[in-house]
């Protein structure tokens, strides 16, 4: 089995508070794992730790067998993109937001305009959205643009935090279909945090309950 991501004996904390201990799992190419657990159990912190926005207290994270130190942190994050529940869009137009990651030093390609136009259409957004001011977008539109921005980077792994929480059922289906298709055709793997057990059942190949790795209060519960 080709592992895209290996998480070994990972412990994470938020500030002084320990959240998870001894978490080990592998994510194969094209696989999607659902992360479950009550609010505050460390799901978002885990995603942030996996992409290296914060440090684990212990453990190793490997992307195709290499640590972020070996790959270089910006290149590592580019292949393992974190999409927050409410993706932050920068001031300016949607086009400028989508272009921005391709202006960074570690960008190896230019903005895939054709793919972006296709995604806009698939996610129910018009081509004119490209010139819209991000301050005027709805939460749902922001969430879709955040997903398109992440997908356009052609990552190996997506770290999705409640990726469809602000979307209508039709668009949710489209997003799930795109993720499935990208998994089959390009080997895109994903860790998906969702409060909707049905979504995890529909979208993911397997699930991990973080309660089993929780320390302190949650473990007692």
């Amino acid at each position: 089995m080709n592992l895209a991501l290996s998480v070994e004996n990972l412990s994470v904390s938020a500030g002084e508070k320990a959240l998870l201990k001894g978490l080990t799992f592998g994510l194969s190419l094209g696989e999607r794992i659902g992360l479950e657990g009550p609010s505050g159990c460390g799901k978002t912190t885990l995603l942030r730790t996996v992409c290296g926005l914060c440090d684990p207290t212990e453990g190793t994270i490997l992307l195709h067998g290499k640590t972020a130190e070996e790959t270089g942190w910006p290149s590592f994050r580019r292949k393992l993109v974190f999409v927050a529940q409410q993706p932050r869009l920068f001031p300016g137009t949607v086009r400028e937001n989508l272009e921005k990651p391709f202006t960074y030093k570690h960008a190896s390609s230019s903005m895939p305009m054709e793919f972006i136009e296709e995604m806009l259409h698939t996610f129910g957004l018009s081509a004119e959205t490209l010139d819209a001011d991000t301050a005027k977008l709805s939460q749902g539109e922001k969430q879709r643009i955040g997903l398109i921005r992440a997908l356009s980077l052609e990552p190996d792994v997506l770290l999705l935090d409640e990726p469809t929480s602000a979307l209508d059922p039709e668009t949710v289906t489209e997003v799930e279909e795109v993720l499935r298709r990208k998994g089959e055709h390009s080997g895109l793997a994903a860790l998906v945090v969702s409060h909707d057990p049905e979504q995890i059942r529909r979208l993911c190949n397997r699930r991990i309950s973080l309660v089993n790795y929780a320390t302190g209060r949650l473990a007692d519960a």
Binding site: G15, C51, G52, L53, C54, D55, A68, W73, P74, S75, R77, R78, V81, F82, V83, A84, P87, R88, F90, K100, P101, Y104, K105, H106, A107, R149, A150, L153
Partner: protein, 270 residues
């Protein structure tokens, strides 16, 4: 080129100084008539003005007489430390270690600009001649302090309140510098705005203090103007250098080698 004017200084004796207190009394009368309840504060401020300025007068006279490099550098260090403390005092958000940063920035950028002006532009001999070095350094520190605090305030707010935006850039593969660059650019710009504004209106809206002082002490106005041009340019250099310097130090404090934005403890300023 106009001929230098023949001017001389009128010395202010003790009696004339006492007479000038009438002017403070005017301010006191305003406070009384409008019931501002500021008479006591005004009196304390007036006494402090006299005492502080007399003390600095005595100190400067002693330092001028000593004409010793180490004494002058010691005074420069104290001035930079006070200015650094004042710059941090103005911030609306603070974290540990900023005072050290402002001190290092002010002493390095302040002394570098001062050295350039006294040695190369003015051609003072020796370069640390206190008559030139101390007022020049004083002006540089005073103006850099304003620029520095505006720049730092902007950066503190960006690194704390715009954390999500910066982390989004990092998550999309930006280096720490790329993610911080918009905030740094904005902060340096804010730091430089006051001095650029001053340069734009100097001589039109106000006659700068140093130039006024030189004219009052009998210097030909044209000579005073030339000094003022040098002063404005040196302030532009020192403010931009120190804004850049402090931004670089703060960037290193807030970001680590793993291109992460550190979650530093922050407290609100008074």
């Amino acid at each position: 080129m106009p001929e230098p004017l023949s001017t001389s200084i009128i010395h202010i004796d003790a009696l004339r100084l006492v007479l000038s207190t009438c002017l403070v009394l005017v301010a006191g009368l305003v406070s009384v008539s409008f019931r501002l309840d500021m008479e006591k504060r005004l009196a304390v401020a007036a006494v402090r003005t006299v005492v502080q300025l007399l003390l600095i007068g005595v100190l400067l006279r002693t330092i001028f007489q000593l004409d010793n490099l180490w004494v002058i550098l010691g005074l420069a260090t104290v001035m930079a430390a006070i200015a650094g403390r004042a710059a941090v005092g103005r911030l609306s958000l603070k974290t540990e270690g900023l005072q050290g940063f402002t001190f290092v920035t002010l002493i390095v950028c302040g002394l570098a600009t001062t050295l350039f002006v006294t040695k190369i532009v003015v051609g003072a001999h020796p370069w640390y001649k206190p008559q030139y070095l101390i007022p020049i350094l004083g002006m540089i520190l005073g103006n850099s302090l304003t620029g520095l605090s505006l720049c730092m305030d902007s950066l503190m707010k960006a690194f704390v309140q715009r954390r999500e935006e910066i982390e989004t850039e990092l998550a999309l593969g930006a280096t720490a510098w790329e993610a911080a660059r918009p905030a740094i650019r904005e902060a340096v710009r804010k730091g430089m705005v006051p001095i650029i504004n001053s340069m734009t209106v100097v001589g039109l809206v106000s006659i700068p203090g140093m130039m006024t002082g030189q004219i009052l002490s009998g210097t030909d106005p044209f000579e005073a103007v030339k000094y003022q041009i040098v002063v404005m340019f040196m302030l532009a250099a020192s403010v931009s250098l120190s804004s850049m310097g402090i931004s670089s130090l703060m960037f290193r404090k807030f970001f680590n080698a793993r291109h992460q934005l550190r979650d530093l403890p922050v407290r609100k300023g008074e």
